[in-house]
Each structure stands twice: as structure tokens, then as C-alpha cells.
Amino acid sequence: MELPDPVTYAIPAFVLLVAAEMLVAWAKDRRRYEPKDTLTSLALGTGSTVAGVITGGAVFALAMWVWQFRLFNIGWQWWWFVVAFVLDDFAYYLFHRSAHRVRWFWASHVIHHSSQHYNLSTALRQTWTGFISLAFLFRLPLFLIGFPPAMIFFVAGVNLIYQFWIHTEVIGRMPRWFEAVMNTPSHHRVHHATNARYLDRNYAGVFIVWDKLLGTFEPERDDDAPRYGIVKNLGSFNLIWAAVHEWVGIARDVWTAPGIANKINYMIREPGWSHDGSRDTSATIRARWQQRLELGEHAWKKPTSSSSEADREAAPPRAA
């Protein structure tokens, strides 16, 4: 069965919604966008699409090759699409969790997190090196089960379209029942935040239930406004650097690491791991933050501090 690529059809809507969000930012808080950041994000997205076109054939061929060994023959009835969507979303959760916990996968995924802004253009800030990082491996079990590759790639496209609208600060909270099951702007703001509380949390694509089931869920708190970006922000809008900086970091570390075990660990251990413990991982960052909380120490705050003012950037409070 020939299925369309839903993402291609959604692109005009993406463009219009980004423009609409810019108008909201102009009216409410101009810090939500920055022209150079937007340019970088959108250029990365276009580059990602081009990379996908270049490597898509190989990925599809591999999928078809695996599918021939399928355990079951799954048909094209609509309910199989629903099942495929749910299972593909779980596969996405597993991939996404690995993309934050294994440096080799992180090197490709970090691009998406490297903006210090959180808006709809950030949703389009996608990797150029997904094929190199072998991200497609996580879908192979679905083909082995018996889901036709065309079906999986179609539902994966729908999954990606869903994830576009959650990259915004315009929406505060959705209704409680929705927040309980689905990934939402609030849940995904947590995921993009570098606050110690929020690091490596909320990996969901569409259904937040995977995080709740597997212990990686953290709700957004109004008293801990998300700060976006990566632990060591780039400080640069350079397009190529955004795309390759972590790969360069891996190469440097592997080259200088003592011993083969450390060289391998610099590729497969969690981001921030170092053979001499000199760098921070999300675990050490969280641990130091917890320690400060337990000791009752407060972050730098004085009565005259501008940080005591209301954060105009913060997402609006619960609406329903």
C-alpha cells in the first residue's frame, strides 16, 4: 500500500503557526524569539529533511529486509494503524531515552536541544546525523513483529506532527485528563529544560504514560520555571557547529582518552561522563542540587535581585 508522507503535507501549517506564534511573542514577550536562533533552527530543520531524503532509501531498504523475517502477517485494517501508532510511540520513547543516556545517540539528538529558546521553530530544529547515530535501529523490532514498513513510517510521521505543537510557551496547561495521558507543552517544557529537577525527564513522543510507567516523569512546577538549552550552552548561532559539536567532542575525547575501555566509554556512556570524573553528568548535577536543597541552602538571591520579579517568560498558569 502506498501511503503519503504526512509531514510534507503539514509543512505549510508549520510555517503559518510559527508566524502566528511570532505575532503572539511580539504582543506578549519578545524574548521568546530571536531572529538568529530562528534562522539556525529552521535551517537545521531543512538540512534534516535533506539528510532524510539522502538516507531514507537505505533505511527503507533495511526495514523491508527485516520485515521479510516477520513473525506475524499484519494487515492494513485501520485498527492495525492504531496498534502500530501506539507501539511506534513506545519505540520512540525507548529511542528518545537512549538519545539522552548514550552519548553516541545524544550526539545526534543534542541539536534539537541546543536552542535556548522554546518555541515552534525549536520543534523544527532537527538533526542532520540521525542515520550516523543509528536511530533507525529502534524501529526494527516493529518490522520483525510484522508491521509493514510503510505503515510504521506513516504513523511515525503522524507522531512527529503531534510533537510540533507541544514546543511552545503560549499554552500553559491542558485539561487535567489530557495532561494525565498525553504529552503536552507543559510536559515537554520540562524535557527541554536544564533545571536540575528536570534533567533527563519526560521522554514521551505522544503518550506521557510511558514516562509515568517507567519512572522518568516530572511535572512542571510554577516555582521552577524551565530554563532551556543544554547544560553547556553553545553560545553561538553557527549552523554547522550546532549540527556537529558533540560529534567533534566525541572525536576529541576518544583521541585523547587513555585505554580502549575509556575510548569506548566516551562514546557509549551518558553525556558528561569522563574517565577522571572531571565533568558533570545529569546525575551529578541533580545530586548537587538535592544536596543544596537538603542543607536548606538557597540559590543566590538578594532582596534587590531582579530574579525576585515575576518571570515574564514563564508559561501562563493552569487555564482549565
Binding site: 505575532l23 530571536e34 553560545g235
Partner: protein
Amino acid sequence: MTWLQLAGSLAAILILAGLAWLLKLGRAGHEGTIDEPDQAAEAAEQSLAGFRTIGALVGDDRAAALVAGEHGRVAVIKRHGARLAVREVRWEQVRATHEGMLVETGDRRFGAVTVTGINVLDVRRLAPSLTSV
């Protein structure tokens, strides 16, 4: 993706980035400036695990700051669009120039940062334990 789609995408990118520029998003006023030392201190503590601020110096142009922390730690903050970007450095990377204190971050893309209008005396007051900057 056809060539037409690629051309359309590139056009859309330029239009959207242009719209952001026309609307003066991220650059209309004080976006990304460092208005006072507390703001720099907060940025350093939020970005660097375990960093405890002793004091901070903000440049005259409010585009950069130097934050001294306990145990000899030091961070440089710079304006990055409408946000602030932070790097932890060593005091050896900080030196005086006629414009202010120049911080060679060692990160070519992050760039060197000049905290304008502050001098060695300001730094010594910030971090009295320093014997040389």
C-alpha cells in the same frame, strides 16, 4: 523532496527569520542584557553545578559579566541574543586590557568575552584571594 519543495523551504526560512527581525523579536530593549550583578550570579549558579557565588562584576555595556565563586571558581557570562550564555573558566584565562577584562574562553565558537569598564582592582575586590590576574 523536490527542488521546488527545497526552494520553498529555503524561502520560508528567510521569510520567517525576516519576520522575527521586522517584529524586533529578541532585540527591542533589554532582552539578554545583564542589568545587575545578581542576575549574573543567578545565571552562573543555574548553569554550573555546585557554583556558589562570592560576587559578580557587570560590564558597562551590560553585555558581559564576571562571576567569582567559592573555591576559586570563576564564570564568564555573555549576552547571546535574547539570552545569556555561561562558561566556567580559570583565572589564568582572564587578563586586563584597556577596554576591560578579557576572558579567553578557549571555545572558538563561544568566543572571547570582554567585560568592559572593569579593571584589575575591581577583580581583586571581587576575589581578594587572587594573587595575579
